[in-house]
Amino acid sequence: MLQSGLVKYLRDGKGFEGTLIVAAVLYLLVFAAFPLIYTVVMSFQEVDMFTLGTLVRPFAGLTNYTDLFHRPEFAPIVWNTMIFVTLSIAFQLTIGFALALFFLQDFPGSTYVRGLFLAGWILPALVVGAVWRWIFAGDFGVLNYALQSLGLIDGQIYWLSDPAYALYSVIIANIWLGIPFNMILLSVGLAGIPGDVYEAAEMDGANVIQRFLTITLPMMGPTLGAVVALGVIFTLQQFDLVAALTQGGPANASNVAQYWSWQMSFQTYEISGGATVATMMIALVIVVAVIYVRSVQREQSF
């Protein structure tokens, strides 16, 4: 009786859809929300190779945090991370926007050619990193050759091993990876601006630049906000490129927080340190994600 009641509840009642949501949410709680909380917990504990196997570890208070702030590499890595995010997004967005505007024009095959760019999005970042590493190669790399033939540089640039360039090499490759996604999302936003608005502006005497400044940009506001937020999120996820190109080196010159966290946990086994960096970064990502979700909801209601 009870059993058939349950079966009926699952087949016919609210139970069916509720069960589907609960199953997925449970999975996410176990494999995403729990680790999230666990990171925060570990950032307040002493965790190293010896306490790894036990559940009860010494409470460390804020020492993990203060230790971290006092490390000599802390400030440079924070600074690198900021440069990494800012430059990546600035260029991804500008190039992506320019391409989106270009492909908005009506010409044969525009959708197809635009789609080709997505190849960059779909390739594993690690492989992309390997290819860029070859492009960046100092003595025989094709990038140095191209820049020399264009007369932009004289000698060779040792992109990956020169501390002055290493971070920018990673940024260049990351921009390459991010362009397609920016371009596609911005294309969607641009396609959503009704054509008659432009026609009305043209009737009012606005030229191309004025139309871009007074119509395109303001109407793209919400999309741009969402794209920037997603850009921050994706840039902070970028690990594979760093691993393939520089491993954060030389001497942390190209290290960024998300890679540093992993290095501490898995290479120097300072697990509390890794967890502490992760906690701060996750807090940042969640703040950005909340802004993103809010802005998308506002966009939909309008």
Partner: protein, 352 residues
């Protein structure tokens, strides 16, 4: 005997109460229209009957049996949706036979019933098509066919004609009536169009803000509206409402300019009321109770003339069957039979 009995039904969506204490009996074989403005809860009521919405409290009985906790598939009701809700990945034939196939009826029976429904609705040539390849009117017929093949106890219609053009709508009205008569099943028909309700239904249920305002036969609602809302909703063009005061003898009312009108039943002297005058009851020959007005706007279609007339600060719509020529600003003498004057309480809206 009643096919459907609803008692003290309440339905909440979170904090919003969509239906308030609905009680309604629907006799076997009746054609009942649920009518009311958009958002008043018609679809919600229909969907609770179908079992598509759970109810918050109350009981629903179908053929004497409480169905509160029954799934839609256990209720033996067929439904025609406003958007038709045809399965896009199935042909017309598959759409119509779907419910029978789910019930594992023998192939021969399915073919026969689908064939019969297709014949009745004139869909024989379209059986192999997909919904995408049909016109709006044809889709509407397929939706009906899908309901007919079931031979259900009850048909539920949710604004089935509102996506059709005006001419087709009028034609389908009478076809649905005819079908109802031939099939003999009970029909519950939701519409926001009072003309559809008036022309099709045996019984009309007027809903407003989730409450039943009045239940009655079409002409009863027209003649004896229980309140101001029903009076204003039923009838087209809508009834005029003019503030008035009952005079000392209780047998007449005075409207804005001081004009006195005799009323059908005596009222408490000095009472403030709202007088309801139907546009088609206002005569242009001044017979009966007289009102002097000026013409504001005049529109003629040949067979009908619509005049917006002004008495003091009150506006009256007049509908005259025939042609009448005058011009804006001209004086107009209107008349109305005393029996055609409705009175309502200005606060509660109740008919007096």
């Amino acid at each position: 005997m009643n096919q459907i009995e609803i008692e003290h039904l309440n339905k909440n969506y979170g904090s919003l109460q969509a239906l308030h204490d609905i009680s309604l009996d629907i006799p076997v074989g009746a054609f009942v229209a649920l009518v009311g403005p958009s958002g008043c809860g018609k679809s919600t009521l229909l969907r609770t009957i179908a079992g598509l919405e759970t109810i918050t409290s109350g009981t629903i009985r179908v053929a004497g049996e409480v169905v509160n906790d029954k799934a839609p598939r256990e209720r033996d009701l067929a439904m025609v949706f406003q958007s038709y809700a045809l399965y896009p990945h199935m042909t017309v034939e598959q759409n119509m036979s779907y419910s029978l196939r789910l019930r594992r009826r023998p192939k021969a029976e399915i073919d026969e019933r689908v064939g019969e429904a297709a014949r009745i609705l004139g869909l024989e040539k379209l059986l192999k098509r997909r919904p995408k390849q049909l016109s709006g009117g044809q889709r509407q017929r397929v939706a009906m066919g899908r309901a007919i093949v079931r031979k259900p106890k009850v048909f539920l219609f949710d604004e089935p004609l509102s996506n059709l053009d005006a001419a087709l709508r009028v034609q389908m009205r009478s076809e649905i009536r005819k079908l109802h008569k031939n099939l003999g099943a009970t029909s519950v028909y939701v519409t926001h169009d009072q003309i559809e309700a008036m022309t099709m239904a045996d019984l009309i249920v007027v809903l407003h803000d989730g409450r039943i305002e009045q239940i009655g036969r079409p002409l009863d609602l027209y003649r004896r509206p229980a309140n101001r809302f029903v009076a204003g909703f039923i009838g087209s063009p809508a009834m005029n409402f003019v503030p008035a005061e009952v005079t000392a003898d209780g047998r007449t009312i005075a409207i804005g300019t001081g004009t006195l009108l005799k009323i059908p039943r005596a009222q408490e002297p000095g009472r403030k009321v709202l007088a309801g005058l139907r546009p088609e009851h206002l005569r242009l020959d001044g017979s009966g109770e007289r009102l002097t007005a000026t013409v504001d706007i005049i529109e003629g279609t040949g067979s009908m003339t619509f005049i917006e007339a002004r008495i003091g600060s009150d506006l009256l719509n007049v509908a005259y069957a025939g042609t009448y020529e005058t011009e804006a600003g001209a004086p107009l003498t209107l008349g109305i039979a005393s029996d055609d004057i409705y009175l309502f309480d200005p606060e509660t809206g109740r008919a007096l």
